[in-house]
């Protein structure tokens, strides 16, 4: 009984210390933002029913989206390569093949209408600074503007991969991959994936010369990014461990909450795509998490059996000591 009392005292002091040093201290050290569940309350709801065929005409039309964006699923290649695009616009405009399933519909509509507003970059692009966002707002093709935008969104959603077709890797590439590199290779489902650079997967080269030429391209691209954003966005290889799931998802949801005035745009992910982006970062930075859980369970079972034997041994030895 006395031993249990002593154990209770030791445990209490240990837990109090743990509470003060971890949950308590961290609650005073970091801003905490609850997830807004990716509903984008500040953006207007979609009121019009979109028409896919009309949307296609608008997106593909002369001087419309495909003037800058690729849509590979529809056989539309990018007008310029990534490095040239970045030197023209600051960053390579995304391929729109997945846009309909990566980005929230409300966000897409708001983006087409007024990019700087939807991306929360009006502190950077406004009349005072005289800067304009590289993507121009869509002023309409002569009809009802909101109807036209709804049509375009409907079209983008119609060509986008559905449900599981959108892999975590695809979600990451469309949402983050044009600004952030992930230089760790990783393996998933027995398949090995190369390192990711801002201009795509890092290929394997036979000749050093080709590799250097590729890396020069990456550096050129990164130079454009630095000019555009002020600094090179960080490599995200270990972000799942250094930032954690909650921070990553709430940060992507609204970067201004954490870093007022940052050049990072609001990403505009829908909730499912956000989960996929996080999963991809975990696949890269915490690739052994499933193994850890599985091994952990077995080790716990083993140790508990060991403890039972230790207890029985002690009982046996001490029988004649009392």
């Amino acid at each position: 009984m006395k031993e249990l009392f002593i154990l209770a005292v030791v445990t209490t002091f240990t837990l109090v210390t743990y509470y003060l040093v971890e949950p308590f201290a961290h609650s005073h050290m970091h801003k905490h933002h609850e997830s807004e569940k990716f509903v984008y309350e500040d953006l207007p709801a979609l009121t019009k029913q979109g028409d896919v065929a009309r949307g296609k005409d608008l997106v593909m039309g002369a001087g419309a989206c495909v003037g800058c964006h690729a849509i590979k699923v529809e056989g539309m290649a990018a007008p310029m390569d990534a490095v040239t695009s970045a030197s023209a616009y600051g960053v390579n405009p995304p391929d729109l093949s997945d846009a309909g399933s990566v980005f929230d519909a409300k966000f897409l509509a708001a983006l087409i209408k007024n990019p700087a507003h939807a991306l929360m970059l009006e502190h950077k692009y406004n009349d005072k600074t005289g800067k304009t966002f590289p993507m121009p707002p869509f002023y309409g093709a002569g009809g009802d503007l909101d109807q036209e935008i709804a049509d375009m969104v409907a079209y983008l959603q119609s060509i986008a991969p559905k449900g599981e077709e959108l892999t975590p890797k695809m979600a990451f590439e469309t949402a983050c991959g044009r600004c952030h590199a992930v230089h760790y290779q990783y393996e998933k489902d027995g398949e090995r994936h190369p390192a990711w650079t801002q201009i795509g997967e890092h290929p394997t080269f036979k000749h050093k010369q080709d590799e250097l030429a590729y890396e020069t391209q990456v550096l050129d691209y990164q130079d454009s990014l630095v000019k555009y954003l002020g600094k090179l966005p960080p490599d995200l290889s270990m972000y799942i461990r250094s930032r954690g799931e909650h921070f990553l998802s709430t940060f992507a949801e609204n970067p201004q909450n954490y870093l007022k005035g940052t050049a990072m745009p609001r990403v505009g992910l829908n909730a499912e795509a956000a989960e996929k982006v996080i999963e991809h970062l975990a696949d890269v930075g915490d690739s052994k998490r499933h193994e850890r859980d599985a091994v952990g369970k077995n080790v716990m079972i083993y140790i508990i059996i060991f403890a039972i034997f230790a207890l029985l041994w002690k009982k046996q030895v001490w029988k004649e000591l009392h």
Partner: protein, 404 residues
Amino acid sequence: MAHFTKATSLHDWLNQRLAVDTLRRVLATEYWIPKNINFLWAMGMVLAITFAILLVSGIFLLMYYQPNVDLAFDSVNYTIMQEVGYGWLWRHVHGVAASVVFLIIYIHMFTGIYYGSYKKGREMIWISGMLLFVAFSAEAFSGYMLPWGQMSYWAGMVITNLFSGGSLHADGLVEWIRGDYVPAQAFLNRFFMLHVLLIPVAIMGLIGLHFGALRIPHVNNQDGEELDFEAEAAKYKSGDKAGSKVIAFVNDFMSKDMMVVSIYLIFFFYLVFFHFDFAMDPVNFDPADGLKTPAHIYPEWYFLWSYEILRPFSTNVGLMAFAFAQVIFMLLPFLDRSPNAVPASRRGLFKFWFWAMLVDMIVLTAMGKVPPSGIFSTIGLYAALTFIGLWILLPIITMFEKKA
């Protein structure tokens, strides 16, 4: 030259050359431990097991770690954590054990303080134990540098800066320690050497000294009772095991130790697999960047109390208070003037001193982590003053302590 006869068995062959029977008797079966003890007496074995875990996991990590400022971070977070089979396991085990070992050290220390196990011939046990604490602290700090993350770099910067001695401006000393103006390649290499060779060797030597120091004064017991070990051992050997006040180190004491160890290991492995963030600070998963100071720089939890003794004062006073905190525990056997080597609960004012010290160190630990502003810095200041005050009071209150 000793006389050797033809061996009758392998055991006999070894016995003639190494005296294995005598060794076993002296070190195990006739090494006497008091019976009147509780589970806190097993902390020594828990520490020995944890040190063994650190040593083995460290050897595995050493096979892949690269002590180079350009490669270190990725060799830990990519090669070891993701490429090497079960590398993540060894790293989690090593990281968590490095943190948990200090929890056990503190429990072990406060057990010693509570039961007065640093007095009446046990001074060297205490002093060798405190030297082990210093060596473990140096080992923990040097190990923390190795992943070369943001916290490695900035903790290295802050701690080495302490050696400039405030107004003494001994910047040359700081550069000498770093081998550079800032933590860089020379710094990483020498801390790597310290972590994997010099300090572990020192720790192993000190463990030997610590065990040796126990031999003559014997292990203390729950009531501080002075035992006649020879008489009690004779009683035990004559078969009156129940009546004897001593037990054999093996199997009696060991069986209880292993029971405690097994329960400890359940707790330990739970942390390794399911609750490791407290020991593996997320900030250190960002690579070291000398141009980007983290918003909060703080040491691991086990250094927070002494960090908070440094922090609330001006530079010079803070450094003096810090130096005071580093050595004062070592002097405990001499500052405690009472002849009573009994549990604190039976020692008058010392009882309050003990609990006040424990609570004060927990307050210091908490305040050492939170940002030093507003109410926290006030609490930190008073807790630091209380710490110093308690040590000044100790010789006075123990001098007037009645004989228990």
